[in-house]
């Protein structure tokens, strides 16, 4: 067994441990910290699987921004999670197990990891690889797919993120201006 698979197995085992801990811990600040570690671990798994772009996004969004957003939310709410008062935990357990079983069943149809005959590598990918330096003139294929072939898609995504950013800024800034008014009244 080489080190690559040891790293794979250990990273996934860490993720399982952290996920169970997130469910069991009641301190919400600790949970935010554990989420940050969980994101770093999944980014590590993506890196091992050679998906550098996805790992990059996961680290920036998962470990960076989401942790900060969760902490910002914690400033508005309590530090402790209330004990759940659900009457029947068995129903929730059954729903989770059925959903998980369906997902695992769904993976049986997927092509093997890294299979060159997989449909995703047969459809438009050869064209991107062969033609994109000529057609677009950007040496990096991922950039030419994102910025040119799927330009409208990227524009839509950027619009969504921009709107979300404005909304968050408005929510966070609202409180600041209100407190300034309070301060002035006290003065």
């Amino acid at each position: 067994m080489n080190l690559d698979s040891v790293i794979d197995i250990l990273l996934l085992a860490f993720m399982a441990v952290i996920a169970i801990a997130i469910v069991r811990i009641r301190d919400l600040f600790g949970i935010a910290m554990l989420f940050s570690i969980f994101s770093l671990l999944s980014a590590g798994v993506f890196t091992v699987m050679d998906a550098a772009d996805v790992a990059f996004t996961e680290a920036a969004v998962g470990a960076g921004i989401s942790t900060i957003l969760m902490l910002a939310t914690l400033t508005r709410t309590a530090r402790k999670e209330k004990p759940s008062n659900s009457k029947n935990p068995a129903v929730a357990l059954i729903v989770v197990f059925v959903t998980g079983a369906l997902l695992v069943f769904g993976t049986s149809d997927l092509p093997r990891f890294g299979d060159p005959q997989a449909p995703v590598h047969q459809h438009v990918a050869p064209r991107y690889i062969e033609e994109s330096p000529k057609e677009i003139g950007i040496p990096n294929m991922v950039t030419s797919v994102l910025a040119s072939y799927r330009g409208y898609d990227t524009l839509g995504e950027t619009t969504v993120i921009f709107t979300a950013g404005i909304a968050v800024m408005a929510l966070l800034g609202m409180r600041r201006s209100r407190r300034r008014e309070d301060d002035e009244e006290i003065d």
């Binding site: 080190l3 890196t47 790992a55 910002a72 409180r175």
Partner: protein
């Protein structure tokens, strides 16, 4: 040699996770998360050299930056209880 380095980093990751889970105080957890981020950077560097894909080093560098900014944000949250507050002494 890379194997030894990788195993040592993985063992340190286990220790950091243990401290995050047990950590009695908030600062134990913050420090453990910070260390875990550093270990992720290191393990990516080891993977990069082991497999010869040195372009992964850029990602390791970006992780180091994200880790630093994240920890600063967390500490600021703990010092002021919110993010919208400025430096020391300013409202």
């Amino acid at each position: 040699m890379y194997t030894a380095a990788g195993l040592a980093i993985l063992i340190t990751m286990v220790l950091a996770i243990t401290r995050t889970l047990l950590g009695p105080t908030v600062y134990d957890r913050i420090l453990a998360v910070n260390m875990f981020g550093t270990k992720t950077v290191l393990i990516i560097a080891v993977i990069a050299f082991m497999s010869g894909r040195t372009d992964l080093l850029d990602i390791a560098l970006a992780y180091a930056l994200i880790n630093f900014i994240g920890i600063v944000a967390v500490l600021k949250f703990f010092e002021y209880g919110e993010f919208s507050r400025g430096g020391r002494g300013r409202p």
